[in-house]
Symmetry: C2
């Protein structure tokens, strides 16, 4: 019985993972678009105030079970890695 | 013009963040449930084969713009931090 239950729960996790994947990619596309606008304006991409605003909004809406420390850590990773990869992609484009 | 566009894009990012938050919390609830079943079976929560399966599935479905290294890094952070917090919560429950 519990094996079947485990299998069903794992299936749910797989579906959630794919949905999260879709959203972080959609997010990266928008971050990229923002980056292009900022580039034209001559300002840097990284904006600590904007990051603070995003984390505060997440804190306000977080109902758990993940606590705020965990949520902050996951999102800082999402912010940082996405920005880093997109910046490196832009550099490669410029080198072509 | 570009300020208005920036504002609209940031609004989209905020909405995506909240949707990602909802999904990682939903995911954590299921991870917790799996943990309880495994505990009854007397097996450890961390399962490297299962983690490999999840990363392979994500790789298969990743259409970018995030590359696989970035996706792996973000998901390993989600796997690790969620498990760590939930394990620490369980310990606290046992101590009460």
């Amino acid at each position: 019985m519990s094996e079947k239950r485990l299998e069903a729960l794992r299936q749910q996790i797989d579906e959630l993972n794919l949905e999260i994947l879709r959203l972080i990619n959609e997010r990266a596309e928008i971050v990229n678009e923002i980056g292009k606008i900022k580039e034209k304006q001559g300002v840097t991409r990284y904006d600590p105030l904007r990051e603070r605003h995003m984390l505060d909004l997440l804190k306000k809406h977080n109902k758990g079970p993940l606590n705020q420390m965990t949520v902050d850590y996951i999102f800082k990773t999402i912010f940082k890695t996405a920005l880093k990869q997109l910046e490196s992609d832009t550099k490669k484009e410029l080198l072509v």
